[in-house]
């Protein structure tokens, strides 16, 4: 059983590299039972999404407005 700390490391590895089959299964099992790590993984995806958005021309909101 993975610890939460190990799971956060795999969340990054999943994004930057790839997971082995064992890592995928271990993480899947942990995340199924641990809502905090489930949220962590979704937070990291959220973070990547907003960064991507900031790097897309015209999509970005003008902070001088409003």
């Amino acid at each position: 059983m993975l610890t939460c700390k190990e799971t956060t490391e795999l969340v990054s590895k999943e994004v930057d590299d790839s997971l082995t089959l064992k890592e995928r299964l271990d993480m899947g099992l942990h995340i199924m039972m641990c809502s905090a790590c489930r949220n962590y993984r979704s937070n990291i995806r959220f973070l990547r999404y907003v960064c991507k958005d900031a790097a897309t021309p015209g999509r970005h909101i003008d902070e001088t407005k409003g």
Binding site: S12, N39, S42, I44, L47, D53, A54, A55, G58, T64
Partner: protein, 197 residues
């Protein structure tokens, strides 16, 4: 500039310039070099202005040029301050406080659900908080994170650009995300939550 206005209005160009400047400043953290990079990108795009049909294509093209310039600048900076060993900026134990003795999340630090990013993106304040959180990252850590998430380079490309190992790069990225997540949680989501509920 008159031939430019045939394709894009001056307001469009001013808005585009604002977007570019914000993007460059976020990553270069220094207004003067951001201005220079944007200037060069705009000039490079102007020289090819006749090849563009419409503003959207121009924006995409200038952004692509700007991203390349930013990579160049970040790469040259890393020569003066090598990133190898920069994992030490955020040491391995930086986040120990978030976990208990069995490496489970501490009760107060359990990540919360953030909802739909689209709903957050439309809120002006969010960008200010995101910038603040990025500015709080140590410089070399921020450089690695920016190259990966804003300039959209693959981890091995980032590692090659900065002459660090791929595993070092992975560790820096992981710690950058840990730090940014905590910052956004406390400075954005907790504050909004307490205001709303």
């Amino acid at each position: 500039m008159s031939d430019v206005s045939a394709n894009a209005s001056h307001e469009d160009l001013a808005r585009l310039r604002g977007d570019l400047l914000r993007f460059a400043t976020l990553q270069l953290r220094d207004h003067a070099s951001a201005e220079d990079a944007v200037q060069e990108a705009m000039l490079a795009a102007m020289s090819k202005i006749n090849e563009f049909r419409g503003q959207a294509q121009l924006s995409t093209w200038v952004f692509a040029i700007l991203k390349n310039k930013i990579v160049d600048i970040l790469r040259s900076r890393s020569r003066f301050r090598p990133a190898e060993g920069d994992v030490d900026e955020l040491p391995a134990d930086s986040f120990d406080g978030l976990f208990d003795e069995r490496d489970r999340w501490s009760a107060d630090d359990r990540p919360a659900f953030w909802g739909d990013p689209e709903a957050t993106l439309v809120q002006q304040q969010f960008w200010i908080v995101l910038k603040l959180c990025l500015d709080r990252l140590p410089p070399a850590t921020a450089r690695v994170f920016m190259m990966r998430e804003f300039l959209d380079l693959e981890p091995d490309e980032v590692a090659a650009e900065l002459a660090i190992s791929k595993s070092n790069c992975g560790v820096i990225l992981h710690r950058a995300r840990m730090a940014l997540r905590v910052c956004l949680q406390t400075r954005w989501f907790d504050e909004r939550g307490s205001r709303k509920c």
